[in-house]
């Protein structure tokens, strides 16, 4: 009897153990006493890095990207190695959706890669937590790189003085900037006999809806729609409507959620109405962009967003397309966001100088940037190079200039990256489906959602204060 009771007891212990550890496998195993020693060696090697000429400095570089992008970066890293004989770079790539988890697990386990991609939204946490190395002096001292040539808006995303992002020392450099422009199917417009949109004067909302409705039709007479005005995704396209209407998710002090303002509700309502009231998008409950993305590529969608990362894929589109500003709301001014991904150096690296050199090679050097731009995986980071890139009207889209205008003029960062974490901002999109389905008005939604989001924002602010005091 006593023997029998043993087995379930052990089983219980094991299963409970497994259940708990299932989520905390993030490399805790070596978190016990490893960090103290590795930290010490990391700080000591600051002055020893000059001696490392005799032995090879081996760096690890962790990044993500599509197949084209990975190939382009690998090639550029090879070139870096050829130019820097003392350095060997070990590349670690992951699938895009697993990158954040793997990186954070590596950081928690005190085994962060020497050089890695970072989301600008994590900058404050990484600096306060002592994860990122201050590379300001390396950037200033590098003779081959002139940081003033790189987009200011891009570099500022990775400056932090302990209080405000955008000021102070550099903790990373932008891998690229991703201005999110609006595109339109030129061939479809010409076939429908609709005058082409002006590339310098944005549509009003009314004009946009009117044109979208005109484009939505049954072209082969089988009684089913097979062409639509647009097909937007709320997560990536609502910003443009909200901002151009003079509203925002958060106030200037970044402490108050402001979605309950009427201007905000108006923009959100319009977004839902394009689908439900004006019927200018494919089928209802259409939240999965996969469909509209595929339809755009098959030439069934009139207006669709275009980022610089799309260009290599869109070069093969069977129709002509071009870029225009997003339609403007009550402010009369167009608006959109600029995405970015940075490259930073771990504070625990043994070779800070070489690691910083790699970052600069990939983000700010003529040679590196030329290789990456030639591979068509991004817009060049260097302003003069970007001018030349945009002026080339021989490749689609002709109006690449729009990308530069977004960066120089009307692009903004996404609201979620402005705060310590993006939980409050993400909640907005988690709960939004009833509005998109037309089961709830935008006005009711923002009223109901504001307090919930405010609570999470307060928590993020509290968390930030704590991380600073450490």
């Amino acid at each position: 009897m006593a023997k029998k009771g043993w087995i379930p007891a052990v089983t219980l212990l094991v299963t409970a153990g497994l259940a708990l550890s299932g989520c905390s496998n993030g490399g805790n195993a070596d978190a016990g006493n490893g960090p103290a020693s590795s930290q010490a060696s990391g700080s000591q090697s600051g002055d020893g890095s000059d001696k490392s000429g005799s032995e090879k400095a081996e760096l690890t570089f962790m990044f993500r990207g599509g197949p084209d992008e990975q190939a382009a970066y690998k090639k550029t890293v090879d070139k870096f190695e050829a130019d820097h004989p003392g350095v060997k770079v070990k590349i670690i790539t992951t699938a895009a959706d697993q990158y954040a988890t793997k990186l954070k697990a590596a950081i928690t386990g005190k085994s962060a890669p020497d050089v890695f991609y970072l989301d600008p939204g994590d900058l404050k946490a990484y600096v306060n937590g002592g994860v990122l190395l201050n590379i300001n002096s390396y950037v200033q001292d590098n003779k081959d790189v002139d940081i003033s040539k790189v987009w200011k808006k891009g570099v500022d995303l990775y400056r932090y003085d302990g209080q405000t992002v955008g000021q102070g020392d550099i903790y990373g450099l932008p891998k690229d900037l991703g201005p999110f422009a609006m595109g339109y199917n030129k061939t479809m417009f010409e076939k429908a006999g609709i005058p082409l949109p002006d590339k310098d004067k944005p549509y009003t909302w009314d004009e946009f809806i009117q044109v979208s409705q005109q484009l939505t039709k049954d072209t082969n007479g089988d009684g089913k729609l097979d062409q639509w005005g647009t097909g937007l995704n709320v997560t990536w396209n609502l910003q443009s409507l909200v901002w151009s209407n003079g509203a925002d998710w958060i106030d200037a002090s970044r402490t108050k959620v402001t979605i309950d303002e009427p201007k905000f509700a108006e923009a959100l309502q319009l977004f839902a109405d394009i689908q439900n009231k004006y019927k200018a998008t494919p089928s209802i409950a259409e939240a999965q962009t996969l469909d509209t993305y595929q339809r755009w590529m098959q030439g069934q969608i009139g207006f669709f967003p275009v980022g610089p990362w799309d260009l290599s894929t869109y070069a093969k589109l069977p129709f002509d397309y071009d870029l225009i500003p997003y339609p403007a709301g009550s402010t009369g001014k167009t608006a959109t966001w600029i995405g970015s991904l940075g490259i930073g150096v771990s504070s625990k690296t043994k070779y800070p100088e070489q690691a910083a050199a790699l970052v600069m090679y990939l983000t700010a050097s003529e040679e590196g940037m030329k290789m990456l731009a030639d591979a068509k995986v991004q817009m060049p980071n260097l302003q003069d190079m970007a001018q030349t890139w945009a002026a080339d009207t021989s490749s689609k889209p002709a109006n690449k200039e729009e990308f530069l205008q977004i960066v120089n003029d009307y692009g903004r960062p996404l609201p979620g990256i402005l705060t310590y974490n993006a939980e409050w901002y993400n909640l907005f999109f988690t709960d939004i489906q009833p509005v998109l389905d037309g089961k709830m008005t935008a006005a009711d939604y923002v009223k109901q959602e504001q307090p919930k989001m405010q609570k999470l924002l307060d928590k993020a602010i509290e968390q930030e204060a704590k991380s600073k005091s450490k």
């Binding site: 989520c23 805790n28 954070k104 259409e286 709960d431």
Partner: protein, 295 residues
């Protein structure tokens, strides 16, 4: 009996050596992280810097956290799939236990999902559930039914994921039942038939009690596994589904820990989940024991 002879000592030495790797593995990869996460649950750990002890604050917050309750509800809801899967698996096993041609082929067909990668299967079902061109809705179209946009509707997203999990686990449970069925002595059935028992009686009074250990095993492991569902949800609804309709507890833990830098809070949730599993399993073992005595 004295065991301090050289031979005994040597044997014991080798014995311990043999069990050392799994024991070490358990200590390093399961027990230590588990204890560490229990400790972490009482701190404001962000996964990057220091851990400050904050007592029960995390737990207090969790019990007021709407999303935690939602995630818990979703997790429990999807466990409805366990009895459904069980019943289907038993039916299939009964069917395949007969001497009809082609059983091997069927066994293979039902077992393929079990050995397939969960991530690959999730991607496949993701496409199948697509509201516009998905296989599921195309099939329903043939029957004249207009299917919903499965994964974008808060009412259908849980049943949709549940269905996939049943499909994935069916072959495994079926195989266990099949093995159990084949070890039921034939004379029981013969005796029952002589006494005039019909097919239902035989199922109810012979087969069901005889396969009970398997049922028990499947229910226990099913609840333990069902409490930890993550991959399917993460791949099929990467934001936790419409109105968080498919987010499980582990999914929420993952979001908190790796998305929002709240490792301490996330650890506290895993502690609650671990306790939940512990208690449920304990109750099950008690129930199983008491029903054994009555038989």
């Amino acid at each position: 009996m004295k065991t301090n002879s050289r031979l005994y000592r040597k044997e014991a030495y080798y014995g311990y050596l043999f069990i050392l790797p799994p024991v070490l593995g358990f200590l390093i990869f399961a027990l230590f992280p588990a204890l560490y996460s229990v400790y972490g649950s009482f701190t404001d750990w962000d996964g990057l810097g220091q851990m400050n002890f904050i007592g029960l604050d995390n737990f207090k917050d969790i019990f007021q956290d709407e999303l935690f309750y939602k995630a818990m509800y979703n997790t429990l809801f999807m466990m409805i799939g366990i009895p459904i899967g069980l019943a289907l698996a038993l039916l299939l096993a009964l069917g395949l236990n007969r001497r009809i041609p082609g059983t091997t082929a069927f066994r293979v067909i039902y077992y393929i999902p079990v050995i397939s990668s969960l991530a690959a299967i999730s991607i496949m079902w993701n496409l199948a559930y697509n509201g516009d061109f998905g296989l599921v809705n195309q099939f329903l179209d043939l029957l004249g039914i207009k299917g919903p946009n499965w994964l974008a509707d808060k009412h259908t997203v849980k049943p949709a994921i549940m269905l996939m999990m049943i499909w994935k686990g069916l072959g495994y449970t079926m195989l266990l039942y099949l093995a159990a069925l084949q070890s039921v002595p034939k004379d029981y059935y013969e005796a029952a038939e002589l006494d005039g028992a019909n097919a239902f009686h035989r199922l109810r009074h012979i087969t069901w009690p005889m396969v009970k250990p398997v049922t028990f095993f499947v229910v226990v492991t099913g609840i333990i596994g069902g409490s930890q569902v993550f991959t399917e949800v993460n791949i099929m609804t990467s934001t936790g589904g419409p109105e968080y309709g498919s987010a499980t507890v582990v999914f929420y833990v993952w979001q908190k820990a790796f998305g929002n830098l709240q490792m301490g809070y996330a650890s506290a949730m895993t502690v609650i989940l671990g306790l939940f599993i512990f208690i449920v399993t304990l109750v099950q073992f008690r129930l199983d024991k008491s029903s054994d005595i009555h038989e």
